[in-house]
Symmetry: C2
Subunit: 215 residues, 2 copies
DNA sequence: CATGTGAAGATTGTATCCAATCCTTGGAGC
DNA sequence: GCTCCAAGGATTGGATACAATCTTCACATG
């Protein structure tokens, strides 16, 4: 496993997990003193990590009042996915024609990881491998800034997406979609790739919106 | 003028100016100790401000080595403008149909500011008012996250755009473009608005790319 | 000459301490 | 009861001090 070079880096990772898992609830204030203590660091690296999350829209900041876990309204969710579609479509349109045969093979390797994780019911491994797959594709665009923005949009909804891969039917469906997508990639069929990625997003947004509606 | 609630806020503003004006040169390391001293603060608020700029891509960060002012390659520039066009097109497509008559009037008021600043050769006032105009338009979309991303892209090239408004011919050209655009807005002509905004960008990118090429 | 090594200096990373601000709570006045 | 206000506690903002890491450079070694 990759070790942390700085404490702040580890704190950032921990914070993402706390938010994504809902242990830090949306709307709740992030009390720096207690949280820093529970993470075993001082407030300085925690605050810098929070600044990063603020930039990503994961937390909001009010001077002299502190940081609060951002909660997504349905409107926010719609906006995030609209932005995702703009950015992802571009990444795929640019990237697919640039794919080498080795790239396609690499993507298939990742898909094998996804399916292996699915078989062993390891939800977190599935989400991780799924993410690797899609971002390997996006990175084929050779547009690092674009990829970073896409990453931010994914992170913004991470807290709500955990449930998706829990249902076995969803897993099966996803695997099928992935295989279809790789076929489109191998054929360098740009528009079909874009359409399949869009379908993937639609699944995600419908699931997440149900999670948001509940409370 | 708006006062700073926190030092960090002011530091961030100062840093943006230092970068945009080239006093902090691209590629150069940001030495925290001396910079903090010259800004009259300690390293803590400076570091948090740098984290914000890192998130915007204005500086890069290497653990244990520090922050370095990002310099845009031509490739970066092209990417930033490509992203801008994706995002701005969407903002305009969504926003223009939502414009109220009051919104259009407000936009015209800003244009008057722009032209007044142009007449008095106040370059920084022109850039500020120009920015207000375009973002007032973008904000009509009611998509705050989208607007924020656009803002980041503008900031990423701010350091290089200073020259544009120095030339009087550019100023005249810009005023004409703006007036044409307002006419399109008043007619709620979405596609024409998008096209005019695109032309505006093209001007900007050609100017900036010349600035980058030189050194 | 090339290369490794180690110590000193420079710079960043983090902890701790104090100041500034905000929020709560209780009571006084009406 | 309602509103205003003040005091105390809680929390954040920032400065300082120290630890960890990197960089540089002189020097030894092959």
């Amino acid at each position: 496993m990759s070790e942390n070079v700085t404490a702040q880096e580890g704190v950032l990772r921990e914070l993402r997990i706390l938010i994504a898992s809902g242990q830090l609830e949306p709307g709740q204030q992030v009390v720096q003193d207690s949280l820093a203590a529970s993470l075993g660091v001082s407030r300085v690296p925690l605050r810098e990590a929070l600044k990063v999350l603020e930039g990503e829209g994961q937390v909001t900041y009010h001077p002299h009042r502190g940081y609060f876990v951002a909660d997504l309204s349905i409107d926010d969710l719609v906006e995030v996915y609209r932005i995702r579609s703009l950015l992802e479509d571009e990444a795929i349109r640019v990237g697919v024609p640039l794919l080498t045969d080795e790239d396609v093979e690499y993507l298939e390797d990742i898909l094998n990881d996804v399916e292996a994780a699915a078989k062993s019911q390891d939800v977190s491994a599935v989400t991780a491998a799924n993410r690797r797959f899609h971002f390997a594709l996006f990175e084929a665009s050779n547009m690092p800034r674009l990829v970073r923005l896409i990453k931010n949009q994914w992170d913004a909804t991470d807290a709500y997406r955990g449930v998706y891969f829990a249902a076995p039917t969803n897993l099966a469906h996803m695997n099928q979609e992935h295989r279809t997508m790789v076929a489109a990639l191998r054929a360098r069929d740009v528009e079909k790739s874009v359409a399949l990625q869009a379908a993937h997003r639609e699944n995600s947004v419908s699931v997440v919106s149900q999670v948001i509606k509940k409370p």
